[in-house]
Amino acid sequence: MKIKLNGKEREAMPGESILELCKRENVPIPTFCYHQAFGGQGACRMCMVEVREEGQKEARLAAACTYLLNREAEVITESDRIQRIRRTIVMLLKRRAAGDPILKELADAYAAPDLEAVVTEPENCILCGLCIHACEEMGKSAIWSMFRGIDKRIATPYDEASDDCIGCAACARICPTHAISMEEKDSKRIIWNKSFELVACRRCGKEYATREEIEYLKERSDYGQENLCESCRKKTLAITVKNYI
């Protein structure tokens, strides 16, 4: 299927998103809420592009991450309109995450003016939703987006320690703006108002996971049985394989 991408003819697979096509073709598109593991959510609207499908008179604006290509089309990823939209989005998000380096950088790149920061929300969260997906992927869904409208925020039920949370910190790791507060000291990890005991790797001694996470992984698979951190596990695995050969 032919797609004219910024004037150049490219081949797209039916059903793939504009963003996936652009990634393959090394055409840069800024994104916040897209992750290759979960696909696009169409929430941040940074990835807006202009599309004109065959038979349509005018190009329309669309989110590259959720627009699936099923017909020949023309796609433009940079234009004045697109630039203006991204500038406003960065301007608006920067008020939520005033101190974050990524947004600072983008604000400079798009020459986005400053709006007074929202004082009530110093947590840096831009509500991209990646943490929810990361947690869901772990099979836990301890956090979700709560409330709605301008009060929407990511939280555990009742903002309390959640029975489902295993302290794996997948959410904190995926967060682009480091908005999820996590504290580690004295062999303890505190995240989402819950305190976890950290377990040390049998081989190298590094504290690599919480007790709950290890228990949970044991339940799901035999992974984690050996109490090894990721890198030691790979090493021992390599040795086993070598011996086997």
Binding site: A142, W144, F147, T156, P157, Y158, S162
Partner: protein, 169 residues
């Protein structure tokens, strides 16, 4: 999740309501509505039981409860003052009524007095715009309410039993 021991007294009642519906995600809204109607809020234990019954994580059930206005996460007052802030009522000064209620009862819309007697809420158009501004207290409609009328209306619900029926939600 911390659950109040008192809620366990109702565990079987909750279960009965919940099990009227199939354990599927699409039953979620209806189940929550039934519980809300019966108890005027969604008790924590009920949320956890619902989560188990329909197979959806507690966080998502809570998210539903916080997203939709029909649900309340804390018990409501005995008398619920619902002030219409639909457009017609708004341009006929419903906001002054809310201010006055706040003055008299000490609570903002969405709040309940600590003694559990009164809640104040705003609603959108009650379909009685000709009588704007409109206020409803536990199902009784008051039309063309002026700030001066409020004192008298609040008195009507001054703690005595005024044919209160458990219909406010």
């Amino acid at each position: 999740m911390q659950i109040d021991v008192n809620e366990y007294k109702h565990e079987n009642e909750y279960k009965e309501l919940i099990e009227n519906y199939a354990g599927k995600p699409e039953s979620l809204l209806a189940i929550m509505q039934d519980i809300q109607k019966q108890y005027n809020y969604l008790p924590r234990l009920a949320i956890s039981l619902i989560s188990r019954h329909v197979g959806i994580p507690v966080s998502r059930v809570y998210a539903m409860a916080s997203f939709y206005k029909a649900f309340s996460l804390t018990p409501k007052g005995r008398f619920v003052f619902r002030v219409c802030d639909g457009t017609a009522c708004h341009i006929k000064n419903s906001e002054t009524l809310l201010d006055q209620l706040q003055k008299s009862l000490g609570i903002k819309p969405g709040e309940t007095t600590t003694d559990g007697m009164y809640s104040v809420e705003t609603v959108n158009c009650l379909g009685a715009c000709a009588l704007a501004p409109v206020m409803v207290v536990n199902g009784k409609v008051y039309g063309k309410v002026s700030p001066g009328d409020l004192e008298g209306i609040i008195k009507e619900y001054g703690g005595q039993n005024h044919g209160y029926d458990n219909q406010g939600s």
